[in-house]
Symmetry: D3
Subunit: 294 residues, 6 copies
């Protein structure tokens, strides 16, 4: 029987208190956000997601009766960054990520995923990719900037970090240059629009994910703007018509068969959040991911 | 023709001005909230729900052309409480509830339901229960506290206030101890998860409710966190993946065949609300409930 | 390659910089809001919708690869109004609208639509009407006031500006006087409730729209309160159970076959918005409308 | 010993429950706001000020040990208005005000003061005026509209309702047409700028008020924008550099020697408020005014 | 040279990472808030104050070139509480406080101070008291409840924990029962109203504090509602006319001569805060207190 | 007589519509914010300040009866930037600033001032500096980054852009490294702390400014965090105890004797603002600056 009320647990993810050395899964914050192209502030995401995670501590996941805290979970704090410097920060993130075994990264903006994949692919080879997002993020540049939050998968594919034939994008709906979209399809990426999720149903989309990824190492990159702005206002580049959290959760809980090597949750920008609902959505995604592990 | 604009009606529920003695239905506020385990503030719920109800005054329910104001409705104000004292407050609430005929209680946190049921079951016997919530609320305790918002139906069932075989829970989705969940099922309670509502449809869920409750006295306990945080952020223990208001309303409007003896609307915490949307959702639920009466 | 980041474009709709004389489509703000009956503040809608539109600038609509900026779009600023005077303001709006060819009006409250239709029907004859709203807006008066935001289509139909047999209302769900509702049906208006949209699906509703309007001049009047308060809290008369933005967008994108002569987007009240999500929903509706043109 | 906690008292001003006929002082809401020239929403002021007043119920004023609830105070609800119609609303307000003996009006925008003074001056003759405001409100018109919130004292002086030689304005600081300002001085009005309050001190300003008003009937018109936006953000036309609440309260508490016949508190617009601080400032001003009475 | 940006430091007070055993000063959260009589939510105060403290990490106090992090500071997390139970929680708080040497407690509501003083007075004897507050907090009860946030100093004085002749209250201004106020004076307590602070100046008030406390053990109890609602909206019982933060800071920095044995900062309720300004005010008070130590 | 209500003027600064070529004073937005070290989002400052400036359009400055719109004012829009790249952005800003005659820059974070001064000093030689801020901004680096918002005057002095003996800093109060502070004094900079402004009075501070700057070219760099967080919450690095807006305005209006060559208003971050009060404070500072010109 727990005697510490929810509002008094330690301010780590799920209140985790395990020493890093004793853990199998490491949560780290990566408060980098100068790669954003619209509203700023994802640097405050890690703290907000950790704080919101307190609401998920008390009990098991009713889908499979797992409790992430029993898996061996440590929260190792935030990564060091180079203020105002994209390329130095990417190098620092890669270097720190390389020291973690199974890493759950809390962004920060989507730029960080490139550094995380560089570190992970060195160990695991090209990764299958489950990518939730409103945007394809395969632009070759971002208003003139090569490395920022809209070009992360352009680089990840070109650098061979991701096996684009084992990559699926879910929730896509933003305006996009036709050439960028068609390049993405040409790499073999499977794009599932938000409208398709609404009309196909979560279970069918989960089947698509499983079929696309198959066996082999997998990665989950979850941009919170995949979720509708009504349920996740706290982000920098919202787009109407998004996924509902129940759909995202219902898809994720069916992915237990994939061989996940890591994940990131990015683009939570708490300055635009209300009542922590975006942060809670992000924390719930991470919690659901952890419940897939065994 | 009404000449008073919406924003100038009296600050009672639906602007009701009937004297209590002349009414068939009584609305009362129960601003008790020290049984909450996460975010505080449901004490301010009654005022917020009353205020939001002004938006529903002007017209009939298009589902059945009823207008609650024609039913004989009085707003009797808020119940007296014992500050900072759970058991004394429960006794006071029970005593005041016992004096009301058909009571619609505006919480306050879910703890109040226990006192309300104690009063009502004395008059009506064990009640069938339509329980909207994100949480089963059948924990034997709450971080060491016996009587608080997470244990209300554990006690209500054990005290024989509720006929657990005529009880249905709708919208359940939070983390929960497996033993608590299984105890609930073992009592014969029908649990409909939020995901099931999303996939079965509102009409099918309404049928389940009608089949579970059957004839006999019935009660509606509506915890606003049954609704998704995107539509009801103003509450203390939000959970992603919740019901949509259209589903809750579509279920409720099909329950005219039940023999309702009372209801409560709990856990509206306006400090976390935006633009009164949570309070309006709560007021709409009460309004829909009233439109079932005749 | 655009080098101006999203947050630095001009504060016009979509950052449009074309001179009015060179444009085919004119966006104008109509910051009139003294016809509201509940929460005030739609006068600030035009600026908020323009500001939010910056999020839609970068790319084509993936539904048909059109980019509204290539159509010949000008933002002509806000219309002049008579402060605190409904009838003089309606006259001024009509007069200014008469000078625009294909006008996209950003309200302001729904009262403005009457003036816009008076101007347009003079040129095009009675219009077919696609009307998204939570309310029928066919009351003969508004708490004693003839011309305000709840009576606009009562007058528009009576003045012959709208062909009521070619009119469809989508998203209807508010309390309403039975007589008002039945008068509307008696005029031949097709009413699609919000619950019907949820159960029929967006594609079926789009078919209904096409079948109702048929050939002939058409108009889109989009009251943002058609959208659910969870996705569009920033409005004056919210009603629970509303449309989701994905449904509105999915319906609109299927209406390319209609002969639209103009549109308005009304009732965005930013004081109640959060993180610009209501304004973005409004801007997205206008953007989708523009993408139907060719 | 009061057993009802602050958050459970009736939603009237200070929780007053006296019948109007038994009272010496009447509080009424006047939710009129279509005379505003910038941000809308003062219609919601009365409810917000009443709600915030609960924080002042428990105890006496330490300045003179008076408790307004012992004076004979009734809250008579809101006045009826004509939606969207300035002149009809002014007539309705005047007519209802004429039926009240000592009236404390909660606006609504400043336009209402003209109607209140018309009613009162009929009974008391021209009134001495203590006018707190950021603006002189003596413009002959408001963007073309004669009767609105910026012209109220132009009309009140011209109609002989106010004795301009017994009028003082405190807190003035907005941009203003030179001719308007000089006309005001020419009527004999004493203008005390906000900067003068900051440098002279509250006590010296109180002396100026007493000297300017002298004997004879007096009136207090308190526009909440007299207070600085940091302490009163919830208003329509904020101006930086305003009075602090301690100064306003310190001035008011020294005015016990004036023969007040009534007061109004205007321009509280809760949509822009935070944590009820503007509404509380307004309620505190009214409470202080009541504590001057005996 | 620090390379970790402000937004990436650990989520402890000032980012402190020292082990408790190695520290001279201990910061602990005490998230108890069921003793509040108006707005709820001070349970979330500790986390908010810790988070806001990050803004104070980078540098020395320019008043005396001290940096609290060099003093030997540990953040020991939050105390355990008994949910919904005032007397058991007070016992738990006292017991945990007894294990700390020099404790800085982050509330929580003001009720906690009684338990903290019970623990401390056992070690140090009756304490001199510097009490910043809008309220005297010497009521014998709180709406019928003996032990809650308005009676803390009534009990502390009666229990002999505080030497009332060495006690000063600063910022007092709320409505109060005359008998309560006079009882306080009769105990020898020095009351400095907020208006007196505004007119006397911070330096003169600091002299009063030093003269009142003299030699002997001292304690600082800082209720954030001493500060004006414009600078500290995030609290439960705001009162207009409060102290400005510059005054509080200017008084505190002159108190280096007192022999402080501990302090608490209470009543920060983040749900009503804006942009963390209340939490920052609270964190700054604690930081200033620490800079007095040597 | 103006017929366009405040809420309908063009979205430029003060609604200016003059062509740049015809203007003497140019307002430009510089939405650069990746040099911030705490809360992000000053990129949205220019739009917010322009929007808030509408509240200042209607009338003359009562201090000297000037109206900035009569001076020849153009709003030239926002400068082009290099996304995510500090040094390229500084080069772009310098280059665009060089093309403006008398430039009023709306930031963006304080980093931009370095580029603005590089452009201006080329034309005017070393500038006297009136610097309002909570921070000295003379750090040699910012968490490892040379060019960011905390080092701008370190570089400006070292590059000879500012004549440090003709430089005054007003409002200083943050924690700071002793060496940084003493280096600043050693350059001859006059530092006036916020507490000194509170105790000396605005008029005395204005005299200090005039005495320090004397004759010769002058520049005003106004960091909005000079103002107290209660009046200017919308900024990235707030510090308690700040200036009040009345003080800043009272100082500025006495600086008509200086030979100003340009100004900037930086660090307005609207995501943390409430009711536009920070943006209005910023707009008012610029408006007051313009009223000094002739």
């Amino acid at each position: 029987m727990t005697l510490t009320p929810t509002f008094a647990i330690p301010p780590t993810f799920l209140g985790a208190t395990l020493e890093p050395a004793a853990a199998r899964f490491w949560v780290a914050g990566v408060p980098f956000d100068i790669g954003t192209t619209n509203r700023a502030g994802a640097r405050a995401g890690p703290l907000a997601v950790r704080h919101a995670s307190r609401m998920l501590v008390d009990g098991d996941n009713p889908a499979n009766w797992r409790d992430p805290l029993t898996l061996g979970l440590a929260d190792v704090g935030d990564f060091t960054l180079a203020l105002g410097d994209i390329s130095s920060s990417l190098a620092l993130i890669e270097q720190q990520a390389a020291e973690c075994s199974h890493l759950i990264a809390l962004g920060g903006d989507h730029t960080i995923t490139l550094a995380l994949l560089r570190a992970l692919a060195k160990r695991c080879g090209p990764l299958g990719m489950v990518h939730f997002d409103a945007h394809v993020d395969t632009w070759p540049d971002n208003f003139g900037q090569s490395f920022a939050h809209g070009s992360v998968f352009y680089h990840a594919i070109n650098e061979g970090l991701v096996d684009s034939r084992r990559m699926i994008q879910i929730g896509i709906r933003s305006p996009v240059a036709r050439a960028v979209y068609e390049w993405t399809l040409a790499q073999g990426v499977r794009i599932v629009s938000a409208e398709e999720v609404h009309t196909l149903g979560a279970s069918a989309v989960a089947d698509l994910v499983l079929a696309t990824l198959g066996a082999g190492p997998a990665y989950l990159s979850f941009d919170i703007d995949a979720i509708d702005p009504g349920q996740a206002p706290g982000t920098g580049t919202p787009e109407v018509g998004g996924l509902f959290t129940w759909q995202a959760m219902a898809i994720l809980k069916r992915l237990g068969g994939l061989d996940f090597k890591g994940m990131d949750l990015v683009e939570v920008a708490p300055a635009y959040d209300v009542a922590e609902i975006t942060a809670l959505a992000g924390a719930s995604v991470v919690w659901q991911y952890l419940c897939l592990q065994h």
